[in-house]
């Protein structure tokens, strides 16, 4: 196999349609007689539903259907949406009902649906659905959720403790007893939203003749939705097809199955016409899962030289009103905390609590940004206490390359011992420092100070378990036209998977990338699939494409060898033909092979070759592949207003072998932008009653072009030994350490004021007030 495309900056096959307006997002799909839905949502964070009167709404013009929980199938009365990832540590496995019947547990929870001729009419009628609520006390702050006499977030369970467990190894007591220094701090991270530019969207069509449902959804996991529909409707797998067409960004929250993805197909079935629901932005801010609320109360024990002896503490995770994805995120947090460092002893006690806010789901980074924030802040503080450079204390603690593969001592979420497969963390940090001219920063700082400006620099490292299984499948097929078709159960939300998968196949078949068609996101393509999350697609689907393509390519060569009467080893695939190497004339085109093999009378396949020009492979990785990286952020802070400008950003990144640097760089640049938002701009605010306050894009601040610098990216390539391509995931590394690196830089910029950065996001107000208070204290002395 040649590697013409693997590793090349190949332009995307997706772009032609998307830059001309020919993309096909869910709301772009036009089915005849489609109706539109709107949901009636709770205006209270926590309330009992006393009564619902939908009679007026049903009489509104253009209205076809109004449903409340009472109108749903009797079998759904006590049936919650499936909990995809159960775990023994979960005490109360509560997920949402399709529609709330008796109790609403967050502001925005759906209580009724209206289907009308168009969305405007549906909204008109939704306003006429009269719901009487009896407000209940709400749990808003996870830090008080476990107070003995506090309110319950869910009245169906006895307490707010959704789950609890311990991760530990080594002799933690001894580590702390023998420590020269112990650093102890509390860190709080507030929540934000994934906020893809395309909100969620569902279109469902019911075929009465076949008693089957086709559902289009702006989802990251079409197979997950299919499983949920099969489960809720209790129908056969063959009766449901779920398609994720073009999807306008995902970032995590779109991997859940939501109530709308059950209710809308139900409406389509009842009415017998296609029904669509396009989430508007306010609904997105009030009903799509969010992430990051965590309180870390942690301690680091170090010896006199600044080497870590142990890490311990507690992690409090706010899951919101439900546990749609179990305890995945806090579990990832709890196992990410040791990071790329040698940590001889470890104990973290994690509690997951319910509050009356939107449920949480993995969101770009999925629990890791918080853990990285905690360990990196501790290291910065330790450096301060020991009088060490922040890079130096990390150097002393990074796992050396010769220790790979490195067993941390924990069990990761895939059930395997947490084992870093490859990488050179010290070298990666050095690359970042060199690129950022860390050593020259003090000169830059001094120059800026002379101009009255405050610059700061910060550093953060991370390790990320990527490419989680259980598996992904792919089929490669030679089409009658001679083109190659790839099908995979994975879905894509802008990452360019079709391009990268085509690159892998193109190399196997010796064709150009645009000779390969790639179908993703359709449950009809591949029998089982998992989805696009956890930076898992390239490892799983990429490897499956590689294996299936290699298998089919071999078969093409076998057929060609028989037809051309040549040795298999002499057959090469190139430019859409199979040819005998080194001779003239002996060749056969893919198209001809396809024709011959399609069952032409008189042509027999070579002995031992089964009919069908198709190969399917599944790839199930033995464990996660660990990407890593080092980020250096340079910021300018206005200490009076608290405004932070990220002036420079460097990423040294190791995601194993890079299939397409253009796209990997794009993932990193975009991930950093998200991280900047998390660090200094994006804060999902709730008032004391649990009502969301930032429900528009005017209030919830996504970074714009002026907030994000061009990220300088350097790559290391430590191939993963765990998959045939040697790849690791790259989708989240831009985000994971960003808040930590920026916090470090802000604190550094404000070092003249002695301010400590302990929380994220660090909004200008927070920073300005920290500085002001620090100065007031100084003046008082």
């Amino acid at each position: 196999m040649t590697t013409r495309f693997f590793g090349a900056r190949v332009q995307r096959v997706e772009d032609g349609a998307l830059v001309t307006g020919a993309g096909r997002f869910t709301d772009d799909i036009k089915l005849k007689e489609t109706l539109s839905a709107a949901f009636v949502r709770s205006p209270f964070a926590h309330a009992r539903i006393v009564s619902i009167d939908a009679s007026a709404a049903k009489e509104m013009p253009g209205v076809h259907l109004v449903l409340t929980a009472a109108d749903l199938p009797a079998a759904w009365r006590d049936k919650r949406l499936p909990l995809d990832v159960p775990a023994p540590a979960i005490r109360h496995p509560l997920t949402q009902f399709p529609l709330a019947a008796d109790e609403v547990c967050f502001c925005g929870e759906a209580v009724a649906v209206v289907v009308a001729d168009n969305r405007a009419l549906a909204e008109d009628a939704a306003e006429q659905v009269m719901v009487e609520y009896d407000p209940l006390p709400a749990v808003v702050d996870c830090r008080t959720a476990l107070a003995p006499d506090g309110p319950l977030a869910q009245t169906s369970v006895a307490d707010n403790l959704a789950a609890k467990w311990v991760n530990e190894y080594g002799d933690i007591e001894r580590a702390f007893a023998g420590a020269a220094h112990v650093i102890a701090e509390d860190y709080f991270q507030h929540r934000g939203t994934g906020c893809p530019l395309e909100p969620r969207a569902v279109l469902a069509q019911y075929d009465r003749a076949g008693d089957s449902l086709t559902v289009w959804s702006a989802t990251q996991a079409p197979h997950g939705i299919k499983r949920a529909i099969v489960d809720m409707f209790d129908i056969a797998d063959t009766q449901v097809r779920v398609i994720a067409p073009d999807v306008g960004g995902g970032f995590g929250p779109k991997l859940l199955t939501y109530p709308e993805e059950i209710v809308i197909p139900h409406c389509a079935r009842l009415i017998g016409r296609p029904v669509k629901w396009i989430e508007d932005r306010r609904e997105h801010m009030m009903s799509t899962a969010q992430e990051r609320d965590q309180l870390w109360s942690v301690r680091m024990a170090l010896d006199a030289d600044g080497r870590i002896l142990g890490l311990r503490g507690t992690l409090l995770h706010d899951t919101g009103a439900f546990l749609p994805w179990g305890i995945i995120m806090p579990y990832i947090s709890a196992t990410t905390f040791p990071g790329p460092y040698v940590v001889p002893a470890y104990r973290l006690d994690t509690s997951v609590v319910f509050t009356n806010k939107i449920s949480t789901s993995p969101m770009r980074g999925a629990g890791r940004p918080q853990a990285v924030f905690a360990v990196e802040r501790l290291l910065d503080r330790a450096a301060q206490v020991l009088g060490l450079d922040r890079a130096e204390i990390r150097r002393r603690n990074l796992i050396p390359a010769e220790a790979m593969p490195y067993k941390v001592g924990l069990i990761y979420r895939d059930g395997q011992p947490l084992t870093y497969d490859s990488g050179d963390y010290p070298q990666c940090q050095q690359m970042a420092l060199d690129t950022a001219d860390w050593a020259g920063f003090e000169a830059r700082r001094a120059k800026a100070r002379a101009e009255g400006r405050h610059l700061g620099i910060g550093l953060a490292n991370y390790v990320e378990g990527t490419g989680l299984g259980p598996f992904e499948g792919a089929t490669a097929r030679l089409l009658p036209s001679g083109r190659i078709l790839l099908r995979t159960g994975a879905a894509s939300q802008g990452q360019g998977h079709r391009t990268v998968l085509a690159q892998i196949a193109a190399d196997a078949f010796g064709v150009a990338v645009d000779e390969v068609d790639v179908e993703v996101g359709d449950t009809a393509s591949v029998s089982v699939g998992v989805g696009a999350f956890a930076s898992r697609l390239m490892v799983n689907a990429g490897s499956a494409v590689d294996t299936s393509s290699q298998t089919l390519a071999l078969k093409l060569r076998q057929i060609a060898a028989a037809v051309l009467d040549a040795e298999l080893d002499d057959i090469e695939l190139s430019g859409g033909v199979a040819r005998v190497m080194g001779t003239q004339g002996g060749q056969i085109s893919f198209r001809e092979i396809a024709k011959m093999s399609s069952g032409r009378p008189g042509f027999s396949l070579p002995r031992g070759i089964e009919p069908g020009l198709e190969a399917t492979s599944f790839f199930a990785p033995p464990q996660a592949a660990y990407s890593n990286g080092s980020h250096v952020a340079e910021v300018e802070v206005d200490p009076e207003t608290g405004l932070v400008k990220v002036t420079r950003y460097v990423v040294a990144h190791d995601c194993g072998r890079v299939i397409n640097p253009l796209l990997v760089d794009g993932q990193i640049q975009g991930g950093v932008a998200h991280g900047i938002g998390n660090a200094i701009m994006e804060r999902m605010r709730y008032d004391e009653a649990g009502n969301p306050q930032t429900t528009s894009l005017a209030d919830y601040l996504l970074p714009d072009a002026g907030n994000v610098p061009n990220v300088e990216i350097v790559h290391m390539e430590s191939p993963s030994p765990l998959n045939p391509l040697g790849v690791k995931g790259a989708g989240e590394g831009g985000t994971i350490p960003a808040a930590a690196a920026i916090a470090s830089a802000i604190e550094d910029a404000l070092s003249p004021f002695g301010v400590k950065i302990l929380d994220a996001p660090m909004l200008p107000e927070t920073i300005a007030m920290l500085v002001k208070n620090a100065q007031a204290q100084k003046d008082a002395r």
């Binding site: 405007a120 909204e123 932005r281 207003t641 701009m681 209030d699 601040l701 714009d704 002026g706 107000e765």
Partner: protein
């Protein structure tokens, strides 16, 4: 997020528009629509009749004389791009540069901005700073409203329901005045958390003859700092005087919302006022400042 129903009217003349405004119940004027249509989409605003005045003749244009008159339907973009206005009163373009984005300035109008009365709106602030007179008309005749009398409450202009803004006259400070418009927002084009506009005109002795300071985003309407202005007049706007003026700015009442607390707004008001006055002083072209 779709608007509730309304009827749409598109008068061609002022008289027609005023007739509709007087006779239609639950009517509202549609100017640039850059706030109103968003509020209609979100169902924060409900109207029975929308009177679109975009095609009413004679409502747009900029006339420069001793004062500056701007027609209500003059697009923000056209105000921003007016070279004559920029030369005469540069603070207007400076403020407009903060107003929304290319798209919204292409549509948004000065009359619409004044009618909408967002407390943080830069143009509302500029009108307050420049002692604007708002010209309104109704079937009952024309009327002038001083900007000081204009705000009646949160997003509530001092207009009768049948009255339409047709223009605004700004009173510029003396030629050679120094000016500054600063605002705090994390993203360019967002509404300001707090904005400060100021002009300083000096007499031939180098003393401040005319000082104006306006704070936007603090309360229901832009706030002129009469006390600070009076304090500056007669000084050379030296740092101590500026600090005293900024201190006054920092103890004004302010609101709390999803973007910022009252405390922070006050703090910003003080910081930005100091910076704006310092910048305005440096920009002033005559007098014995240096």
């Amino acid at each position: 997020m779709k608007a509730a129903r309304f009827d749409y009217h598109r008068p061609a003349t002022r008289a027609e528009a005023l007739d509709m405004l007087q006779t239609l119940e639950g009517a509202k004027l549609l100017a640039g629509g850059q706030s109103l249509v968003a509020m209609l989409n979100m169902r924060y605003a409900f109207v029975d009749h929308l009177i679109d005045i975009n095609r009413v003749e004679g409502l747009a244009g900029i006339a420069l004389g001793d004062t500056i008159r701007i027609g209500a339907m003059t697009r923000q973009r056209d105000i921003l791009e007016s070279p004559a206005l920029k030369a005469r009163l540069p603070i207007v373009a400076a403020a407009l540069n903060f107003v929304g984005h290319l798209h919204t300035r292409n549509r948004g109008t000065i009359g619409g901005s004044l009618g909408h009365m967002d407390p943080a709106a830069e143009l509302f602030g500029i009108a307050t700073l420049l002692d604007a007179t708002i010209h309104v008309e109704s079937r009952r005749g024309p009327r002038d409203v001083a900007i000081a009398d204009y705000p009646q409450g949160y997003m509530t202009p001092g207009l009768d329901p049948d009255e339409m803004i047709v223009g605004v006259t700004l009173a510029p400070p003396a030629a050679g005045h120094g000016w500054s418009f600063l605002e705090f927002a994390q993203r360019h084009g967002d509404f300001a958390v707090v904005a400060v506009g100021t002009t300083l005109a000096f007499d031939s002795a180098g003393k401040v003859a005319d000082a104006r300071i306006v704070l936007c985003g603090m309360g229901i309407a832009p706030l002129r700092l009469a006390e600070a202005e009076a304090l500056l007049v007669g000084t050379t706007a030296e740092p101590e005087a500026i600090a005293a003026a900024a201190e006054i700015a920092g103890r004004q009442e302010a609101m709390s919302d999803a973007l910022a607390s009252e405390t922070y707004r006050r703090h910003l008001a003080g910081v930005l006022t100091r910076r704006a006055l310092t910048e305005a002083r440096a920009r002033a072209s005559h007098g014995k400042v240096q």
